[in-house]
């Protein structure tokens, strides 16, 4: 019922909301005084409230980085927790200014849904988890024929699951939930044999189960899941700002600019660092974007560079302990690569 109401509200906004979805998001955000950010209702490492009620995770921090670039203050963000089903309507109708909710970039979402993905903040892939105590002897996804699989509705995961079992001529019984929490609870209660979502999500979910050590993540990765923030189409200025905030975080890591040393880096002699941090004479990079010239300084001061954000939320500094892998910089064998800031 709640979902219907939410969907209907979103639809009503589409019908009425001429002002809400106006084409100048930057002015709207500045006028409001805060950034409205759509995040997951609770996925450890990406966006989940901590014990003090503060939103933590890569997705939440990315919104903070955008707020830092716009306002010079990373705290000027309000978070809207959204289910997989609500997320696109929320963005389309102007309820949120940016959707940063572990969302997979696909061509359909870029075209038919009217979204623009700004980049890939996390390279992920779909995997399977099962309870090795209850179901011993299964160590490959190809042995899963006949299993009940818990999955979240309205995700690419749900479609990949169908494709994978079909391609391998296996049968399964989907148990589909609307919210992550419901799917987790059902898997923990033994309703399903297997839980499937993006691998990072599996590691995050495992921490919340009653006996985390009993559960194993199977080695197969059955899909590409490039996760990234998205904005509405039709507002190139805002699209560029959000895109370059992401590139700025990557560039900062590449140049070794961190939260700790950003102030002293301002005095650096290196022309590239001076250009990025806006200390070059007569620089116009920040103002051309519609921001101030010290936008990168604000981002790095607020949330750090990409590597710091990664390690703090999902990497060695977190309970998830996920290695950089594909998410390492291109200089270190990963896929994260930013076009030059000049």
């Amino acid at each position: 019922m709640k979902t219907i109401i939410k969907a209907a509200l979103g639809t009503a906004l589409l019908a009425l909301g001429a002002s809400a979805a106006s084409a100048d998001t930057l002015s709207d955000v500045k006028a409001k005084g805060f950034l409205q950010c759509g995040v997951n209702t609770g996925l450890a490492g990406f966006s989940a409230p901590d014990d003090k009620g503060e939103w933590t995770g890569i997705d939440a921090d990315f919104c903070r980085a955008v707020a830092a670039a716009v306002f010079g203050d990373a705290t000027k963000v309000r978070f809207s927790p959204l289910s997989a089903k609500e997320r696109f309507t929320a963005l389309q109708s102007g309820e949120v200014d940016i959707l940063s909710r572990n969302t997979t970039w696909t061509v359909n979402r870029d075209t038919a849904l009217g979204l623009n993905f700004v980049g890939v903040t996390y390279y992920d892939g779909q995997g399977f988890m099962l309870n090795s105590k209850k179901i011993p002897g299964v160590n490959s996804a190809l042995q899963l024929s006949g299993a009940s699989v818990c999955v979240q509705s309205g995700t690419t995961t749900e479609l990949n699951l169908a494709d994978y079992f079909k391609a391998n001529k296996m049968e399964y019984n989907p148990v589909v939930f609307e919210k992550v929490e419901e799917a987790n609870a059902a898997y923990d209660a033994g309703r399903c044999d297997v839980y499937t979502t993006d691998q990072s999500g599996l590691y995050g979910t495992r921490l919340t189960l009653s006996n985390p050590d009993d559960h194993i993540v199977l080695p197969e990765i059955i899909s590409k899941e490039p996760l990234g923030p998205a904005v509405r189409q039709g507002d190139d200025k805002w699209y560029h700002i959000v895109k370059w905030v992401y590139f700025a975080q990557l560039t900062a890591e590449e140049l070794g600019i961190t939260q700790a040393n950003v102030e002293e880096m301002k005095n650096s002699e290196n022309p590239e660092i001076r250009r990025v941090l806006g200390t070059e004479a007569d620089t116009k990079i920040g103002t051309d974007l519609g921001l101030t010239n010290d936008w990168v300084v604000n981002i790095v001061k607020g949330v750090g560079n990409y590597g710091e954000m990664f390690e703090r939320n999902v990497g060695s500094g977190s309970a998830l302990k996920i290695a950089r892998g594909l998410n390492g910089l291109w200089t270190k064998g990963g896929l994260q690569y930013a076009p030059p800031i000049r």
Binding site: M1, L14, A112, V138, S148, G154, E178, E182
Partner: protein, 396 residues
């Protein structure tokens, strides 16, 4: 009026027209209708403009493309290669299935509990009261959670299934029972059943005619039961018992083979039945109480036995009071079935939601939701109105 007539001179008849009540009411209605049409047109236009500006595809064409997701429970053949249209049809049928099953069960439980609340036996009365007051005062969502997480999840796991008679099993994954696989010549059985129904109707009308003519009674109920069970059974043996049973067997993960009532369907069905039954019980009680005591006494005075008095005098009159509010409860049950989404039963809302998210066609899907629920509800109320008219008091 008169002064105006004088001032307007030649235009007097038109002024009269303006003050003509019929003319005025037509004008008002036309204006309101035009305003309504303009409002709707503005809504539609604004939606289309906004969708176009946001570069969102629109239209119902998406219904014919491949759905790509699987559905755990379906009454009609469905695979991930089927269309979105078929997926929505699966959801609609699942909603109707839960509604019909729930309505039947809720009516039976409600009737028993309602009569129980009027029982002379203190214990039966007390139990019925506790039942009504408990279920009536809990939100339906919690009743669903109670059955799903409290009762069915608490059953043993697949490995330690409770074995029941006839090769069926009960565990936290649902109720598993053997599936009948019909062989050749099995068509005789449904045919025999239809013949039996025709015979029952014939016997009923003959028995009634005979009772009205001669006063002699015929055991219609027992004959009907014998016909309805006996004829198909006879057909089954005559055609050489063309049925084999497929028993559920244990495999690596689940029990396979046979038929399954999944926990989602089971808990939704039980929760809606038990929840709505508490309201129906009160409606039944009100209906029976609404028949004045004089009616019962008059029936007794005519020499009817208590059971006949209840069946022939009290219940028909109580029905007239009970049916209109009963219709509302049936509609409520149907609409409450949308709470299925909380436990993952693939009903219309759940599948519509998945479709909405996979295609992004929110306006279209919401319109489909509204139209389908409206259609189901209108059909239900049309049927209940027809039934109400049938049992209504015919004044002679």
């Amino acid at each position: 009026m008169a002064t105006q007539d004088l001032r307007m001179g030649a235009a007097a008849p038109r002024v009269a027209l303006l003050y003509n009540p019929r003319f005025r009411s037509i004008i008002t209605q036309v204006v309101v209708a035009l305003a309504l049409i303009a409002l709707i047109a503005w809504f539609v236009d604004n939606t289309i403009t906004n969708l176009r500006r946001a570069n969102i595809a629109s239209g119902f064409g998406f219904l014919y493309s491949r759905a790509g997701f699987d559905i755990s429970f379906s009454l009609i053949p469905y695979t991930n290669d089927s269309t979105y249209l078929r997926a929505i049809a699966v959801g609609t049928l699942n909603t109707i299935l839960v509604a019909v099953m729930g309505i039947v069960t809720a009516t039976i439980i409600g009737f028993i509990v309602g009569v129980g609340r009027l029982s002379r036996n203190w214990l039966i009365r007390a139990i019925s009261t506790v039942y009504v007051e408990t279920f009536r005062n809990i939100p339906p969502l919690l009743v669903i959670f109670f059955w799903y997480f409290g009762v069915i999840s608490a059953l043993p796991t697949v490995r330690d299934s409770i074995a029941l008679p006839f090769g069926s099993f009960l565990n936290s994954r649902g109720f598993f029972f053997p599936k009948v696989i019909w062989g050749e010549g099995a068509w005789l059985i449904p045919v025999a059943f239809i013949v039996a129904i025709a015979l029952v109707l014939f016997v009923r009308s003959r028995a009634k005619a005979r009772q009205e003519a001669t006063g002699q009674r015929f055991p219609v109920v027992w004959t009907s039961i014998a016909l309805l069970i006996g004829l198909p059974l006879l057909a089954f043996f005559v055609s050489g018992m063309p049925a084999t049973l497929d028993f559920p067997k244990k495999s690596v993960f689940n029990l396979t083979g046979g038929m399954t009532l999944a926990p989602e369907l089971l808990s939704l069905y039980l929760a809606l039945s038990f929840y709505t039954a508490s309201f129906i019980a009160e409606i039944v009680r009100a209906g029976i109480r609404g028949v004045s005591k004089g009616q019962t006494e008059a029936a007794y005075a005519l020499g009817l036995r208590p059971r006949s008095a209840l069946n022939l005098v009290v219940v028909p009159q109580a029905m007239r009071i009970a049916i209109p509010p009963l219709a509302s409860q049936y509609l409520n049950l149907t609409k409450n079935s949308s709470l299925a989404i909380a436990i993952g039963f693939p009903d219309l809302v759940a599948i519509g939601g998945t479709t909405l998210n996979q295609t992004g066609q929110s306006v279209e899907v919401v319109v489909l939701w509204l139209v389908i629920y409206l259609a189901i509800s209108l059909v239900t109320s049309a049927f209940m109105n027809w039934f109400n008219a049938r049992v209504a008091l015919v004044e002679r």
